[in-house]
């Protein structure tokens, strides 16, 4: 049966290969959508579809950062915490320091990029394993976020910031524009620039990357900074949506972001991945969560579902790779 399935899948896969999207993940998404539209009458309503996309934005932006780092055989466990740090840093610019609204944007992005830069420098120059560095940053960024905010949410953002989170130009929520725009740009960078090519080569075979003259150290620093910047952008969107700089924002989101990237076909061990695939992965996560909500499944079960999906996705990928005929 597997062989019978493989050939039509293979043909579709090649067609999608040019767009760097795995057909399996696309089929899972379609199957979920079909199943849920049968199970729940409201699933396919326009407002619910916007709900899904809106809920996907924060994790989707984080997952872009995760994809770059994982493609280079790294990992960033600090994404969720850095999101929280960025959220309170940006909000503090307006609420504590009384600075105008552009500083909220600047504060979020700069805090995220700075945390990422620290990650990158520690991984690339001090040569501490990325797992440990970003695990440490997970605690450091969360602690700093709580210190800055005194453990409280920083409520009340200027209208320009709220526009980024709550407005609906052309009937579509602004965060969706931000996610789509960022994803298109990130896709181009990963698939079509030297930076992207070198990122994949680094994850594939570091010795080869070095031997061909790629500055591996600089590349690593840039990658973790980029990942932090994405967490900063996600923090900005989050802050704008809930009108609050929230120090607990993004708790466990790194789990969701990494899962989205892996489901989307990013190789956990580096060398392969695409942003479009990750977006499909993020949508799968969003649809699963939305579906469980619509079917009135308790929130606690959802966490179990997501964790299971992550392990299953990696397991299936391993089987796929082992089964590949050389």
């Amino acid at each position: 049966m597997a062989a019978a399935l493989r050939s039509p899948l293979g043909a579709l896969n090649r067609a999608l290969g040019r767009a760097h999207v795995r057909v399996e993940s696309l089929l899972v998404l379609v199957a979920l959508v079909v199943a849920l539209s049968i199970l729940s009458p409201v699933f396919l309503s326009v407002s619910n579809l916007f709900n899904i996309l809106l809920a996907t934005t924060t994790v989707g932006i984080l997952a872009i950062g995760a994809t770059f780092v994982i493609c280079a055989a790294g990992i960033d466990l600090s994404l969720g915490s850095v999101l929280g740090l960025a959220s309170v840093s940006g909000a503090a610019m307006f609420a504590y320091l009384g600075l105008p609204w552009p500083f909220v944007i600047l504060g979020c992005l700069a805090a995220g990029a700075a945390a990422g830069l620290v990650n990158g420098l520690t991984v690339a120059i001090a040569r501490v394993p990325a797992f440990i560095v970003t695990l440490g940053m997970m605690g450091i960024a969360r602690g700093l976020a709580l210190i800055i905010s005194g453990g409280q949410g920083i409520y009340g953002m200027p209208p320009e910031i709220l526009f980024l989170g709550q407005a609906r130009p052309f009937g579509v929520p602004t965060p969706i524009f931000i996610l789509v725009g960022t994803a298109i740009l990130a896709h181009w960078v990963l698939a079509h620039t030297r930076f992207g090519h070198h990122t994949l080569a680094l994850g594939d075979n570091e010795a080869a990357a070095r031997a061909t003259g790629i500055d591996v150290r600089r590349l690593r620093i840039l990658l973790y900074t980029l990942s932090g910047l994405m967490a900063g952008l996600a923090g900005l969107v989050f802050t704008a949506r809930v009108n609050t700089g929230d120090p607990t924002a993004g708790l466990t989101y790194e789990l969701l972001a990494i899962t989205a990237a892996i489901i989307g076909g990013t190789n956990l061990f580096g060398g392969r991945g695409s942003i479009l695939g990750t977006m499909v992965g993020a949508l799968i996560m969003g649809v699963v969560q939305n579906g469980l909500n619509l079917l009135a499944v308790q929130a606690y079960w959802q966490q179990m579902a997501i964790g299971t999906v992550l392990v299953a996705a990696v397991w299936l990928d391993q089987i796929r790779q082992r089964g590949r005929v050389l």
């Binding site: 030297r194 080569a201 594939d204 010795a207 080869a208 031997a211």
Partner: protein, 247 residues
């Protein structure tokens, strides 16, 4: 002026001195066999030439320029290519991308966005190079990890030759190959030399070295033990130098 001039190169790793003052010359169009027992310092010496290792003392001059303190990328740009024993290929990237790894040509996307990797040009030129080498690779669009050892060796050679190198260093290029593949690699070396490229061949296979090289240098415990023209020596003499039994 020789193409490559090494003078008094020394290199230690912690307490272990691997190179003890190596002096060596290579002319353009010359094929030099670099021989020596395991641990004699062959690979370390070559990594000092490519810049992967920085020499502790001594100088590396290439085409008349002191490159001792240049990083690997800069030396590569000046025409020093090395083909590694482990081939240094990225297995999940396709053949064409591997050939252009680290030197991808770019163009402006829609005449605006700079830095767009010109994949069409990469594919076109990679195909031309593979064709010119007259080797069989099923397709330049498949991941390198799916190729046989000989085919991967070909990709590594194609990568070294794509940017008009002046010096190509080959570390055990024939060790993992079938006989027919060995001959095609040796033919390639002869063609490279005929084009004026200096070639350094590191190999344990003396037959290959005697067939391909006009000169041989034997390293022994980090120093040059012999530097002989092929015409002036025999396999037995070279072996005696390698094992340190030469009186």
């Amino acid at each position: 002026m020789s193409l490559l001039e090494l003078d008094g190169l020394e290199k230690s790793f912690g307490p272990v001195q691997v190179l003890r003052g190596v002096t060596l010359r290579l002319e353009a169009g010359e094929v030099l066999g670099l021989l020596g027992d395991n641990g004699a310092g062959k690979s370390t010496l070559m990594k000092c030439v490519t810049g992967v290792h920085a020499a502790d003392r001594g100088t590396v001059r290439f085409a008349g320029e002191d490159v001792t303190h240049l990083p690997p990328g800069e030396r590569r740009r000046r025409g020093i290519e090395m083909i590694y024993q482990d081939l240094a290929l990225a297995p999940q990237q396709d053949v064409a991308n591997n050939i252009f790894l680290g030197r991808e040509p770019t163009r402006r996307l829609w005449g605006l966005l700079p830095g767009h990797v010109d994949k069409a040009r990469i594919d076109r030129e990679a195909q031309a190079m593979v064709d010119r080498l007259g080797v069989r690779v099923p397709s330049i669009h498949i991941p390198v990890g799916m190729l046989s050892g000989g085919q991967q060796q070909t990709v590594a050679i194609a990568r070294a030759l794509t940017f008009q190198p002046k010096l190509v260093i080959m570390d055990e290029p024939t060790a993992a190959l079938a006989v027919r593949e060995v001959n095609s690699v040796l033919d390639l070396i002869a063609r490279m030399a005929a084009d004026g490229i200096g070639v350094i061949l590191i190999s344990h296979r003396l037959n290959d070295v005697f067939q391909a090289c006009s000169r041989m240098v034997v390293l022994q415990r980090g120093a040059v033990a012999a530097d002989l023209a092929r015409a002036d020596t025999t396999m037995a003499e070279i072996v005696s130098y390698i094992v340190g039994a030469h009186a």
